[in-house]
């Protein structure tokens, strides 16, 4: 394997950086859950017509 493919010593892979960003994951979790489940679900309920 050529040397230019090797990671410089001590450099952290980008995947590990993302995995370690627990507050980024925290925000993504809240955003995905609230939008896909809550907001979308409640909007569907709001579109249900009232009884005449």
């Amino acid at each position: 394997m050529s040397s230019h493919n090797e990671e410089p010593k001590g450099r952290i892979p980008i995947g590990q950086i993302v995995f370690d960003e627990i507050f980024l994951l925290f925000m993504l979790s809240l955003v995905i859950s609230f939008i896909l489940y809550n907001v979308w679900g409640l909007m569907e309920l709001l579109r249900v017509p009232f009884l005449p």
Binding site: L25, S29, L45
Partner: protein, 573 residues
């Protein structure tokens, strides 16, 4: 021996060093872990007594409780088991993971005591008001069923306390990093607990969104509360609350595998990726509960319960392979390399942490996981919704899976955190088997009755006073008898756990831990393996691979048989 910590701000902490793990234990964190764990066990005891009364009512031959007390006890049982026992134990776990496992101090212990007090007050208020007969609304408290305002207040106080504890857990991790208590990535077990805490944050915020308006509605300050809105908001509390259990349980699986067999994850990146799948997608499974609601549309239901949810199921599949495979490799490394399953035969089956782990995995996966994914499919849900198949599913996941894993870990906390000798070791060896057998029968009894159409949450399954006669096959009575007998066995197992813990904590010799294993002593080295089983080839987790294939075959058979049952119910012509 206690030593002063280096203070990061004005706070000071005093640590002791665990002689077995070498971890530095913040004594303030230790006291909070003990308090939360004791509270958890107390609510397990209360909820367990209620479980016995309910099971003896479900068992048609006995049918113990009258209708009003059935619904009352069912309400208290659900809250004590699904909320109090589990969340108190998880908070203990978070303090253990955030402070002890990182050699760090717990941030602001005084606030952690406030959180504990709020949770205690909240759960006591709920129990009292329910037992007074002023909140027979069950765990879900579906609007327009209206409970006494104290019921909602109790829920809210409990949630505020738990949110405060979560905030302290995250702050502890941030401070641990700043104080250089650990370097690089968080340990995998702590990462799993972070996953649980992230899911818990969404859970508790949703709980506030659902229950604060319900509180004002019960006071008469809010004139109307739309049931559809409530159901949407409640289930983003109610279902993720069980996903906190899932993430915490899997973290404990990794911990118990390490403690009892010396296992290390085969591929940490993959295990972390599986936790991230939970973080991003598992909350969407809440929509399972609304699959027969008329308001939400097909696209919302299927997106949430199928496409997105299956990504979280993929996470569970990864863990379901990773944990046993790690144990297999560890045991093969110890020399048990013959054939596919010598490692499993020679595993430390007498060690309570190991047996609790294996039984937890098996019942959680083979019964809880398979039935959960199946009844979470929109079409099949038409058959299973509001039948006893649903409690069959979640008793396999939450009770046999999570509770048994928590029980297994508790045995190791007694010497490591309580610093007491574990008493009644022979009982501890048998307890996971007895509890596991009982809960397997409970779940199978529920599922078998549910498949035959028995409604859940209904005191009279015969519908004796209904205008139309309901036909109950005789085999339903057999299924409910299996449930009742299983519950009796599980109660014996649960009582054994409580007795072991209480006797150890109150009468066990006060001493520092002497080793990780509690019962098993190192065995003699195995006989030499054949040449073909030497080297790296002999370390491959071939046995786990075959077991996983068997699991997938069972999964497919159960799933497809449900589609067949659906086809027998509604003929397409």
């Amino acid at each position: 021996m206690a030593a002063e910590a280096i203070p990061w701000s004005e706070e000071k902490a005093v640590f002791r060093t665990c002689p077995v793990t070498g971890l530095k234990v913040d004594l303030a964190a230790e006291r909070l872990i003990i308090a939360n764990a004791v509270a958890a066990v107390v609510f397990l005891l209360i909820g367990g007594i209620f479980a016995l009364l309910l099971a003896l009512t479900r068992w048609q031959v006995i049918h113990l409780l009258p209708p009003d007390w059935f619904y009352r006890i069912l309400t208290a049982h659900g809250i004590d088991m699904l909320v109090a026992w589990i969340v108190f134990f998880e908070i203990a776990g978070l303090y253990f993971g955030g402070a002890v496992m990182l050699n760090a101090r717990l941030v602001r212990p005084s606030l952690a005591w406030l959180a504990f007090a709020l949770m205690i007050v909240g759960s006591v208020l709920i129990n009292v008001i329910v037992l007074m007969g002023k909140a027979d609304v069950m765990f879900t408290a579906y609007v327009p069923l209206k409970a006494h305002p104290v019921f909602y207040l109790g829920y809210i106080l409990f949630a505020v306390g738990a949110l405060l504890a979560l905030g302290l857990f995250f702050a502890t991790i941030v401070v641990a990093k700043a104080e250089k208590r650990y370097e690089g990535s968080l340990p995998l077990v702590v990462y799993g607990l972070v996953t649980a805490a992230i899911i818990a944050a969404y859970t508790l915020l949703s709980g506030a969104l659902a229950l604060v308006p319900a509180f004002f509605w019960s006071l008469g300050l809010l004139p109307n509360y739309d049931p559809g809105f409530y159901r949407n908001l409640f289930w983003s509390f109610g279902h993720p609350a069980q996903q906190i259990n899932l993430a915490a349980m899997v973290a404990i699986w990794y911990a118990l595998a390490a403690i009892t067999t010396g296992a290390t994850p085969l591929n940490e990146k993959l295990s972390r990726f599986a936790f991230i799948l939970y973080i991003l997608f598992i909350n969407l499974g809440s929509a399972h509960h609304l699959l027969v609601d008329p308001g939400p549309g097909f696209a919302w239901k299927v997106t949430n319960t199928s496409y997105a949810m299956y990504l979280a199921v993929l996470g569970s599949m990864i863990h379901a392979f990773s944990v046993p495979a790690a144990m297999e490799v560890a045991l093969r490394r110890q020399g048990y390399r013959r054939g596919l399953l010598e490692w499993l035969r020679k595993a430390p089956w007498r060690e309570p942490g190991f047996s609790a782990l294996v039984i937890s995995i098996v019942i959680f996966g083979w019964i809880g996981g398979v039935t959960g994914v199946t009844i979470g499919t929109e079409q099949i849900n038409m058959l299973a919704h509001n039948t006893l198949r649903v409690p069959g599913h979640f008793h396999a996941t939450v009770v046999a899976g999570t509770t048994l894993a928590f029980m297994g870990l508790t045995y190791y906390l007694i010497p490591l955190i309580f610093r007491r000798e574990l008493k009644l070791k022979r009982w501890a060896t048998w307890q996971p088997y007895i509890f596991g057998l009982g809960m397997a029968l409970v779940s199978i009894g529920f599922i078998a009755a549910g498949i035959q159409g028995v409604a859940r949450r209904h005191w009279d399954i015969t519908f004796a006073q209904a205008p139309f006669p309901a036909t109950i096959p005789g085999t339903v009575h057999l299924a409910l008898a299996v449930l009742g007998i299983g519950a009796l066995i599980a109660v014996v197992g649960g009582a054994m756990f409580l007795i072991i813990v209480l006797v150890s904590v109150f009468t066990g010799k006060r001493q520092e831990a002497r080793g990780l294993l509690l019962v098993v002593t190192p065995s003699s080295p195995p006989e030499p393996s054949t040449s073909a089983e030497e080297g790296e080839e002999g370390l491959r987790p071939k046995g786990t691979f075959v077991l996983v294939l068997a699991f997938l075959t069972f999964f497919a058979a159960y799933y497809l048989s449900n589609w067949w049952l659906l086809g027998r119910t509604w003929f397409v012509r």
